[in-house]
Amino acid sequence: MAEHLGLDNLFFVIRAPVWAEKISGKDGRLFYGDGKIQTEKDLSLMQFPDADDDAFYSEARAFLRHKGNYPVLFVTRIGILSTMMSMGMENFCVALYENRGLVEAVLDRYCDWTAKVAKRVCGLGFDVFISTDDMAFNTTTFFSRAVFWDLVLPRYRRVRENITLPWIVHSDGNIAPFVDDLVDLGVIGLHPNEKGAIDIRAMKQRYGKRLSLLGNVDLNLLGMATPEEVDREVRELIRDVGPGGGYVVTSGNSLAGYLLPENVRAMAAAVRKYGNYPLAFA
């Protein structure tokens, strides 16, 4: 499959459970409804798989044994997105103001678990650690930088101590207001630099020396345009963001099921065509 799509890496996911109603949407996609952690009483629902148990990592080890020559990215969530989903967005928002202790208790449980998992998986043979907590939408972040500082950063720092691989953060939307803090935290890469939400060229100027940038190839383009248009877009991205290195071409979110396979292949082909250093653009 990876070969067919022209990918040059594989990924393996371990995520903590989300305690929310599960609704299966169109095309078998999973969607979370109301969060189940509404009050302190519900905290007892949060029973995590045992992260200290060797057997918990057996699938990961098997995956790594069969990876061939591909580098493998480890993908997880640190916990703020899981917290929002397990509490339900509205309840989370209200609790931020009226019961901050509950939010902290939920997030603590997630971060403690992720810290244990991080410690174990960083020694298994993965190449990169990726955390995927969406914290933004098109125009800005879900919550303020003050909330990010008070609630999220101190806990992420705790997990950080156990992340010994290069750490890439994924967040949809316009995450720009948090990027300085993420860089200070030791994050070395940012994904997916969603087109329409983030100006990847401005990011390159501002953070080019300190941060690898990944993504930005528009999902609408991959889902609806022609392979020629994809080729042009990738060429322009490599031309503008590639100089000096530190740019990884990939979709501006994920390879969602509704993308056109010929466009995904066109993206990979364009990388081979334009992405060899020294770059051909002068």
Binding site: E90, L96, F137, F142, N220
Partner: protein
């Protein structure tokens, strides 16, 4: 709610502050409305709102509903994953002035067009204004499918509704 909307636009308020303000407003409205006569609570118009079929994102839709309600419109919120027939039925039964459609996925954007076609088929397209929005939706797309207006934010949704519904009832 206008002030809350302004603060949201200039990134001083975020989703939590908006949702909390909306909750406070709903509580206040309930108290006020229970003390007023029907004539005194006359709304500026009725707006049917929902996330289109196949799409379950509702945070943005809820903010739009709250902002419109805060501006004096009566809101009929159909929730998420709403099929075209349900929009049509609710609009007909309530003689709504406008319908606000939200879509967050490229794959569900075409459902907006289906709603408009269903309105045409039911013979009520000219009686109701169609507003569209959501992260992947653009002004261009709105024009292309024959919607009456596009708004980038919940605040824009209010201005849009004001001008469209006023011009319809004038």
């Amino acid at each position: 709610m206008d002030e809350v909307g302004r603060l949201f636009e200039c990134h001083e308020y975020f989703v939590p502050e908006m949702l909390i303000a909306a909750r406070a407003m709903r509580a206040a409205l309930e108290v006020v409305q229970s003390r007023l006569t029907k004539a005194q609570t006359e709304s500026k118009g009725k707006v049917v709102i929902g996330t289109v079929k196949g799409d379950l994102h509702d945070i943005g839709k809820n903010l739009v509903a709250a902002m419109l309600q805060g501006s004096g419109y009566e809101i009929l919120d159909l929730g998420t994953d709403v099929p075209p027939e349900k929009f049509v039925k609710t609009i007909e039964e309530n003689k709504a002035n406008a319908v606000a459609l939200s879509a967050l996925l490229t794959t569900t954007m075409p459902e907006m067009k289906n709603v408009i076609e269903a309105l045409v088929k039911a013979g009520i397209r000219d009686r109701v204004k169609v507003l569209v929005g959501g992260a992947p939706v653009t002004e261009e797309f709105a024009k292309q499918i024959g919607a009456d207006g596009y708004g980038e934010t919940a605040v824009a949704a209010v201005g849009l509704t004001r001008s469209l519904v006023a011009s319809a009832t004038a």
